[in-house]
Amino acid sequence: MTSIVRALGAFGRFWKDFLIGEAPELFLGTLIFVGAALALHHHGYVAVVLLPLIIVAFLGGSVFRGRAKS
C-alpha cells in the first residue's frame, strides 16, 4: 500500500514539475491559449493572428519574470 502511495506521489510530482515547474505563468498561458483557440476557431484570420500573439505575450512576460528572479 505504502509503495503504491509513494508511486502515485512520484507520478503526481512528475506531472506537477512538468506542467507547472518554475514558470506557472506558462501553464496559465497555455490554458488561456487553448480556451482562445476553441472560442475563436470560426473567426479565420483574426484567430490566425491573435493566437500566436497570446503565446508571444506570455513568453515575453515569463522571460522578464525569469530575469527578475535570476
Partner: protein, 266 residues
C-alpha cells in the same frame, strides 16, 4: 514527405540529441568511475523501458482517442514543454541563467561515485574493476538515461501520435541517441562543447510551433497554407526569441540581482 513531417523529424531528433547529451554525461561518469559493464547494462535497460513506454502509451493513444481531442491535448503539452525550453534558452543566452555545464556535472558525478566506491571498501569496492556487476553504476546509468529520456518519450508520443507518424518519431529519436553515442565515444570529454543551449532554443521553437498549430487544428481552425503555416510559426517564434534575447542583454541584470551581488544599488 510534407513540410510538417520534416519539421517533426528535426524536432524529435534535436530534442532527443539534447537529452541524450545530458544522459551520456551521467553514463560516461558512471562508466569511467565504476566500470563500463554495469553502466552500459543500466543504459540498455532504461532504453528498453522507454521504448516499451512509447509502444504501450503511444500506439493506443493514436488508435483510440479522437484525432481532434488528441491534437488539442497533445498540442497543449507540446506548448508547455516548448515554452519552458524557449524561456530557459533565452535566459541562458542572455546571461540571466547559468548555462548547463556538462563538464561540471561529469566531474561532480565522478567524484560522488568515487566517494561511494571508497566508502564501500575492500573487495566489494574493487569487484566492478574486474568486470563484475556494480549496482551503483547500473542504478546511476539507468536513472540518468530514464529521467532524461522521459521528455524524449513525451515528445515522441505527442508529436508522433498527433501526426500519425509515431514510427518516424521513434526512429528520429533513436537515430539521435545513436549519433550522440558515437560522438560521445570519440569525444566523451568534450561534451561541454556541444552547443546545447542553441539546440534547446531551436527545439523549443519547433515544439512551440507544433503546439500552436495542433491546438488550432484540433479546435477546428483552418490555418492558411495548411502545413506550411508551421514554417511561418517557426519564423514568428524564432524572431520572438531573438528579440527577447537581444532585449534581455540590453537591459542587463535586474535590480534585485545587482543588490544581491553587492553591485551599485542606485
Amino acid at each position: 514527405m510534407t513540410t510538417s513531417t520534416v519539421v517533426l523529424a528535426l524536432a524529435v531528433f534535436g530534442a532527443s540529441a539534447v537529452e541524450m547529451v545530458e544522459a551520456l554525461t551521467i553514463v560516461a561518469a558512471a562508466g569511467v568511475s565504476r566500470g563500463w559493464r554495469s553502466a552500459l547494462e543500466g543504459t540498455v535497460a532504461a532504453a528498453l523501458v522507454l521504448g516499451a513506454l512509447v509502444v504501450a502509451v503511444g500506439v493506443p493513444l493514436a488508435r483510440l482517442v479522437p484525432i481532434n481531442v488528441l491534437r488539442v491535448v497533445i498540442g497543449a503539452l507540446l506548448l508547455v514543454l516548448g515554452l519552458d525550453w524557449l524561456r530557459k534558452a533565452v535566459l541562458r543566452a542572455s546571461g540571466h541563467m547559468a548555462l548547463h555545464d556538462e563538464d561540471a556535472i561529469y566531474a561532480r558525478t565522478v567524484a560522488d561515485l568515487s566517494g561511494a566506491a571508497a566508502t564501500t571498501g575492500g573487495a566489494a569496492a574493487g569487484s566492478w574493476r574486474h568486470g563484475r556487476r556494480d549496482a551503483t553504476s547500473f542504478t546511476v546509468a539507468f536513472k540518468g538515461v530514464f529521467l532524461e529520456g522521459m521528455e524524449v518519450v513525451l515528445i515522441v508520443i505527442t508529436l508522433g501520435a498527433s501526426s500519425g507518424h509515431l514510427a518516424l518519431a521513434a526512429v528520429a529519436a533513436v537515430a539521435a541517441a545513436v549519433v550522440v553515442s558515437i560522438i560521445g565515444y570519440f569525444v566523451a570529454r568534450q561534451l561541454s562543447e556541444v552547443p546545447e543551449n542553441s539546440m534547446k532554443l531551436a527545439v523549443g521553437i519547433m515544439l512551440t510551433s507544433f503546439g500552436v498549430f495542433w491546438v488550432g487544428e484540433g479546435a477546428g481552425l483552418h490555418w492558411p497554407g495548411s502545413d506550411l503555416m508551421i514554417l511561418v510559426l517557426v519564423g514568428v517564434f524564432a524572431m520572438t526569441a531573438a528579440v527577447l534575447s537581444f532585449a534581455m542583454r540590453r537591459i542587463g541584470p535586474s535590480r534585485q540581482t545587482v543588490a544581491v551581488h553587492g553591485g551599485p544599488s542606485s
